[in-house]
C-alpha cells in the first residue's frame, strides 16, 4: 500500500531525510520512533504534501501511484490522512461545516455521491458514539479555543469520519495527559481494520502501550536505523536513543 524508497528531503535548505525506506502493507500499524530532530515530523509532512518540503531523491508509491506528484487535497481524496501534531485553529469556520465540506470534496474527487446534511449528520452521530466525543465540539469553530486534548480528539474524530486508508499520526500523544492519551488511543484502536494502515509517529513509548504496533522503526539522522516488533519500543524506553546510535547500523527496513 505504501512504499517509501530512499527518500531524501530538505527543509529550508537543510537535509533532513537522508535515504529513508519503509514499506507498509494494508492493515499494519507501524510506529516511527526517534529522537528530536530525527526527521519524524518531516516524514509526515512530506507524505501529506505540505509546502516547503523539498524531495531531492527517492520515491513514495501509494496504491501503485506516485504520491509525491499529488496535491495535498488529492492525497486526502486518495485516502491519506495526517493527524497534526499542532492542529490549526480556524476561527469563523464551523467544525461540522468544515468536516462535511472535506468529506464531500473527497467523495466528489473519487466520483462518489456527496452526502446531504441529513445523511452527514447521521454519519457524524455514529462516529461520535464510537469516539465518545461530545457533540458540543461540533458546534464550535474548528479547533478554536479547544484544549490540547480536545484538539487531538478532534483529529481522531475527523479521521473516523473521513475513513482514510493510510493514517499518519504525528506525535498525537504530545501534550496529552494519561486520560486523554487513553481516549485518543481508544479512538484509533476502534478504527483499526484489515484495510487501514497506520503510521504512528511518536517520541515516547507510552502511546504504544495503548496502540499496539505491528512494527517499530527507529528514525535517526534521517534514516531508519533499526526495525523490529513492539519489543523494540520497550528496549528504547529502557536504554534511550543513544543505545540505537551505538548499536544500530542503518538498515533499510522492510516489514
Amino acid at each position: 500500500m505504501l512504499k517509501i524508497e530512499n527518500l531524501h528531503a530538505r527543509v529550508a535548505g537543510k537535509d533532513i531525510l537522508k535515504g529513508l525506506s519503509l514499506t507498509v502493507n494494508p492493515g499494519e500499524v507501524h510506529a516511527i520512533m526517534g529522537p528530536n530532530g530525527a526527521g519524524k515530523s518531516t516524514l509526515g509532512n512530506v507524505l501529506s504534501g505540505r509546502d516547503g518540503y523539498e524531495v531531492t531523491a527517492g520515491s513514495v508509491t501509494y496504491d501503485g501511484i506516485d504520491l509525491l506528484a499529488l496535491e495535498p487535497e488529492a492525497r486526502a481524496a486518495a485516502g491519506v490522512f495526517l493527524a497534526f501534531q499542532y492542529p490549526v485553529e480556524i476561527p469563523g469556520v464551523n467544525n461540522t461545516y468544515f468536516l462535511r465540506a472535506a468529506l464531500n470534496a473527497q467523495r466528489k474527487a473519487r466520483g462518489e455521491k456527496e452526502l446531504d446534511s441529513m445523511q452527514f449528520l447521521k454519519l457524524v452521530r455514529e462516529k461520535l458514539k464510537v469516539m465518545q466525543i461530545s457533540d458540543e465540539l461540533l458546534h464550535r469553530a474548528v479547533n478554536e479555543g479547544f484544549s490540547g486534548g480536545e484538539k487531538k480528539r478532534n483529529e481522531i474524530f475527523q479521521m473516523a469520519v473521513l475513513e482514510p486508508k493510510l493514517a499518519i499520526l504525528d506525535e498525537t500523544d504530545s501534550g496529552l495527559d494519561i486520560d486523554a492519551l487513553k481516549q485518543v488511543a481508544q479512538g484509533v484502536n476502534a478504527l483499526r481494520s484489515p484495510e487501514r494502515s497506520f503510521l504512528v509517529i511518536t517520541h515516547y513509548q507510552r502511546l504504544l502501550d495503548y496502540i499496539e504496533p505491528d512494527f517499530v522503526h527507529v528514525l535517526a539522522g534521517g534514516r531508519i536505523v533499526e526495525s523490529g516488533d513492539k519489543t523494540l519500543a520497550l528496549k528504547l524506553e529502557e536504554h534511550g536513543y543513544a543505545w540505537v546510535r551505538e548499536h544500530g547500523e542503518p538498515a533499510g527496513a522492510t516489514a
Partner: protein, 434 residues
C-alpha cells in the same frame, strides 16, 4: 487642478441643465452649487481626504446628465429581490423614480415614504433646513454636484413612537443606456422620538454599464430612536458610486449599520456619524471586497459629542487581483463628551501580490474618562490553515474561499434579519474570486 473647465468631467457636467423645482430658494441654491462646482472642479490626491483615491481617470470621462428614458427601461424585478426584505419599497432607475417597480401601497401607520420631488411639491418648507445646510464637507465637489443636480431622492419619516418592523427597501439601480450617464439623488430620513426602523439601502445593477451615481443623505435619529440599516452595494463592476451620508443620533438613540461593498469600479462612501445626545450608541459592521480593478474607499468619521456615548465598529477588507481598498476610521471624542466608549477595528486581507489596502485609523480625544480602542491590520491568508483544509481534501480554491468567508463572517454575524443574513453570507462566498 488649476483649470477645472478643461477637465472633461467638469466640462460635461459643469453646465448641465439644472432641475427646475419652481421653488425659488431651491433653484437659487442649485445654481449656486453648480457654479461653485464648475469653478473648483475635482479634488486631487494632494487633499488629505482624497489621498488614496485618485480621480484622474474619472476626470477624463464625460457624462450625460440624467436619463430621459429611465421611466421606460425594462427592468427585471429579480435584479433587486432580496430574501427577508418584502416591506415597502422605493425604486430608482438611473436616478429616476419608478412607481411601477416600487411598493408604496398600504404603508404601515407612522411611516412616510415618498420621492423627494413629491415631498417638495406638497410642502417644501420642512425640507428647507436639510437641503440648504452649508457645512464644511459640503465644500466637497461631489456634494456640490449633487446639491446642484439631484432632482429627486428619498424622503422617509417615521412618526414618534412608531415601530416599522418590515424592512423598508431603497433600491438604486443602474441600467444600461446609450452612453455613460450621471445621476444624483438626495435623501432626507428622520426617525421621531422612540421610533424604530429597519432599512435596506441597496445598490444593484440591471445590466453592465459605466454610469456615475452620486448620493447624499441625511439621517436623523431623535431621542430614543432605533435604526437598523443594511447597506448592500453590488453595483455594476464598471460603474462609479459616490456617496455622502450623515447620521445624527439624539439621546439614547441607537443605530446599527451593516455594510457590504462588493460592486462598482470607483466606489467612495463618506459616512459621518455624530453621537450628539447623551447615551447614544452606534454599531457599524462592514466589509469591502475590491477585486479586478475595483477601487473601494470608505471614510468613516465618528464624533462622540454627548455624555456616555458608545461606538463599536468592526470592518474587514479583502482585496484580490488588482483591487484596491481604502479605509479611514476616524474617531473624535469632543470636549465634554465624558464617558465615551469607542472601539474600532479594521482587519484586511490581501489575496494577491498586486492588491492593495490602505487603512488609516485616527483617534482624537478631548474629553475625560474615555475608553477607546483602535486597531488596523493588513495580512494574508494563514498558510497553515490553508494546508490544514487541503490535507482534509478541500481543494485550494475552495479552501481560500472558506477562509476568506470566515474572515468576513464577524461582520454579518449579528445582522438581525436572518433570511437576509444568510443570503448575504452566501454572497460573500460566491463573490470571492477564486
Amino acid at each position: 487642478m488649476s483649470q477645472p473647465a478643461s477637465v472633461p468631467f467638469v466640462a460635461s457636467l459643469g453646465d448641465a441643465a439644472l432641475p427646475a423645482s419652481g421653488i425659488a430658494w431651491l433653484d437659487a441654491l442649485r445654481r449656486e452649487h453648480l457654479a461653485a462646482f464648475a469653478v473648483a472642479g475635482l479634488p486631487d490626491t494632494r487633499m488629505e481626504a482624497w489621498k488614496y483615491t485618485a480621480l484622474r481617470a474619472l476626470g477624463q470621462r464625460r457624462y450625460a446628465n440624467g436619463d430621459a428614458q429611465a421611466a421606460t427601461r425594462a427592468i427585471d424585478m429579480a435584479a433587486f429581490a432580496l430574501p427577508g426584505v418584502d416591506g415597502p419599497r422605493l425604486v430608482f432607475v438611473n436616478g429616476v423614480f419608478r412607481a411601477d417597480l416600487s411598493a408604496l401601497d398600504a404603508l404601515p401607520a407612522g411611516l412616510t415614504l415618498q420621492p423627494l420631488v413629491q415631498a417638495l411639491r406638497q410642502d417644501a418648507e420642512p425640507l428647507r433646513f436639510a437641503l440648504s445646510r452649508h457645512e464644511p464637507e459640503r465644500g466637497d465637489a461631489f456634494v456640490r454636484l449633487n446639491a446642484a443636480l439631484a432632482a429627486d431622492g428619498v424622503v422617509l419619516k417615521v412618526a414618534p413612537g412608531a415601530k416599522i418592523a418590515a424592512p423598508v427597501h431603497l433600491v438604486f439601480l443602474g441600467a444600461p443606456a446609450d452612453g455613460e450617464l450621471a445621476w444624483h439623488l438626495r435623501h432626507v430620513i428622520e426617525l421621531g422620538e422612540g421610533a424604530e426602523l429597519a432599512l435596506v439601502e441597496h445598490h444593484a445593477a440591471a445590466g453592465e454599464q459605466q454610469h456615475l451615481g452620486t448620493l447624499v443623505g441625511d439621517i436623523t435619529l431623535r431621542d430614543g430612536a432605533v435604526l437598523r440599516h443594511v447597506l448592500f452595494q453590488q453595483a455594476a463592476t464598471g460603474s462609479s458610486l459616490i456617496r455622502h451620508s450623515r447620521l445624527q443620533l439624539g439621546a439614547r438613540a441607537q443605530a446599527m449599520l451593516h455594510v457590504l461593498e462588493l460592486g462598482g469600479a470607483l466606489v467612495r462612501h463618506d459616512l459621518r456619524v455624530e453621537l450628539v445626545g447623551d447615551g447614544a450608541r452606534l454599531d457599524t459592521r462592514g466589509v469591502f471586497m475590491p477585486h479586478g480593478r475595483q477601487h473601494i474607499d470608505t471614510q468613516l468619521a465618528i464624533r462622540h459629542q454627548g455624555l456616555n456615548t458608545t461606538s463599536d465598529s468592526v470592518w474587514r477588507g479583502v482585496a484580490d487581483q488588482r483591487g484596491r481598498g481604502v479605509f479611514r476610521g476616524a474617531i473624535l471624542v469632543a470636549p465634554g463628551a465624558d464617558g465615551s466608549d469607542a472601539s474600532l477595528s479594521n482587519k484586511n486581507l490581501l489575496l494577491s501580490g498586486q492588491a492593495e489596502i490602505d487603512t488609516k485609523p485616527e483617534l482624537e480625544i478631548y474629553a475625560d474618562e474615555v475608553k477607546a480602542a483602535h486597531g488596523a491590520t493588513v495580512g494574508q491568508l494563514d498558510e497553515r490553515a490553508l494546508f490544514y483544509l487541503r490535507s482534509r481534501g478541500i481543494p485550494l480554491v475552495e479552501a481560500r474561499a472558506l477562509l476568506t468567508g470566515a474572515f468576513c463572517r464577524a461582520v454579518l454575524d449579528d445582522l438581525p434579519n436572518a433570511a437576509l443574513r444568510e443570503h448575504l453570507t452566501g454572497l460573500l462566498a460566491v463573490e470571492l474570486p477564486a
